[in-house]
Symmetry: D2
Subunit: 137 residues, 4 copies
Amino acid sequence: MVTFEIKIRVRYNETDRMGYLHHGVYPVYLEIARTEMLRSLGTSYRQLEDSGILLPVYSLNIDFKLPAFYDDELTVTCEMKMLPVVKLIIGYNVYNQNGQSICTANSVNAFVNSQTRKPIRAPESFLKKFEQYFDQD
Amino acid sequence: MVTFEIKIRVRYNETDRMGYLHHGVYPVYLEIARTEMLRSLGTSYRQLEDSGILLPVYSLNIDFKLPAFYDDELTVTCEMKMLPVVKLIIGYNVYNQNGQSICTANSVNAFVNSQTRKPIRAPESFLKKFEQYFDQD
Amino acid sequence: MVTFEIKIRVRYNETDRMGYLHHGVYPVYLEIARTEMLRSLGTSYRQLEDSGILLPVYSLNIDFKLPAFYDDELTVTCEMKMLPVVKLIIGYNVYNQNGQSICTANSVNAFVNSQTRKPIRAPESFLKKFEQYFDQD
Amino acid sequence: MVTFEIKIRVRYNETDRMGYLHHGVYPVYLEIARTEMLRSLGTSYRQLEDSGILLPVYSLNIDFKLPAFYDDELTVTCEMKMLPVVKLIIGYNVYNQNGQSICTANSVNAFVNSQTRKPIRAPESFLKKFEQYFDQD
């Protein structure tokens, strides 16, 4: 299993007239956590794209439990339970600065050839970086 | 059952370097469809909020099937199967201009008192506008 | 001179905790007005890009006079005083539904070759659509 | 004079189909730099708002010189040349990781009473934090 966490501060423009972090911003925070997790494992998502592999989102499920507010410093955790051979499946938890879980989510991304836009298997060089974190029996 | 549809044109800033409508924009499109559905039924969401009732999102599930592109004119359909007594549960389908379904989704919003931020029952005046669309046995 | 106007409704996620349309959204509204003005003159900005010409923004000046609010239906007017031979220079005025001018702005875009990313002259086919609106002495 | 700088990484959703950081995101980056500059001087913008003072933007001028790209780590510098008695006037410079200036800008914010929404003088406690940086002859 791979786990990762990152802190993200709520921007002013991301709040809405309720005073809440708008729910449409959470997918962006999840994406930041996801790409920073990849970076922490030695994979730049930018380089991945530049090498001809896209990782579009296939599904996203989000449960909002408590609101977040302007200037809150949130912690987004990621958890990847399976080696991302054809799909990158990640679970998320978002915590506010009081340690309360305010949101849980999961996402599925698939590897796609940037020319053909068809699904492909993750490149070996990519998988190599993850293998040590998963049981290989 | 209540159904509704609206057309939304993809803005330039909503695309990303893949050339796709960024997945984080879909919650915004769903929200627009949801509020315009309410407007079509005689309820302005702005007036609802001004009268002291908020409708924060509690959950959001989105499946992305095909990408959308800059300047596409998408059709977002909404379907509400239950009278929104304490929750507003809506199913969505997003179609591109070729009539292909590119995304399905559902959302749950709850009625909240804007002062106490506690869940409440939808106001009678609100429910009155929906009752004709649902079986009342 | 070319003039154009378009109505844009303020989206919920575009408001901030002050309850105002966030100032960072105005460039997006100006861009929508600009591209719809081009469309009204027979030029799709998407087709322009697909044909290898980009129109990045070089400068943007905005004066904010009055706030706009959620669900406001704003009118954005555009005015182009010069034939866009190498630059597209546009003046804007944004009005709220009470007819008050809430914002004035101007933008400069330049024509750029999408391969070389170097400035170019606007294509003749593009200019042809504008010539009738400008004095040609 | 007060100067400040902050690093901001370009998010995926902030890019557009040209592959550029969308020009509409720069006002957001400037705002982040502005509020972090205030924080560095001991003033939380959130607390300022909570105490009844808003700081809406009155004008914004931006010159875009070079594009920024996904995952770039930009440096935004701020420079405040005058004590912000009734207005906060700030000059900005945005640099890419190669040290190139890609954007210059300036903004004017005004102090406004959040109840009356009328312009006011900055509170003394706020000004106190800035006075040491300015000549007081």
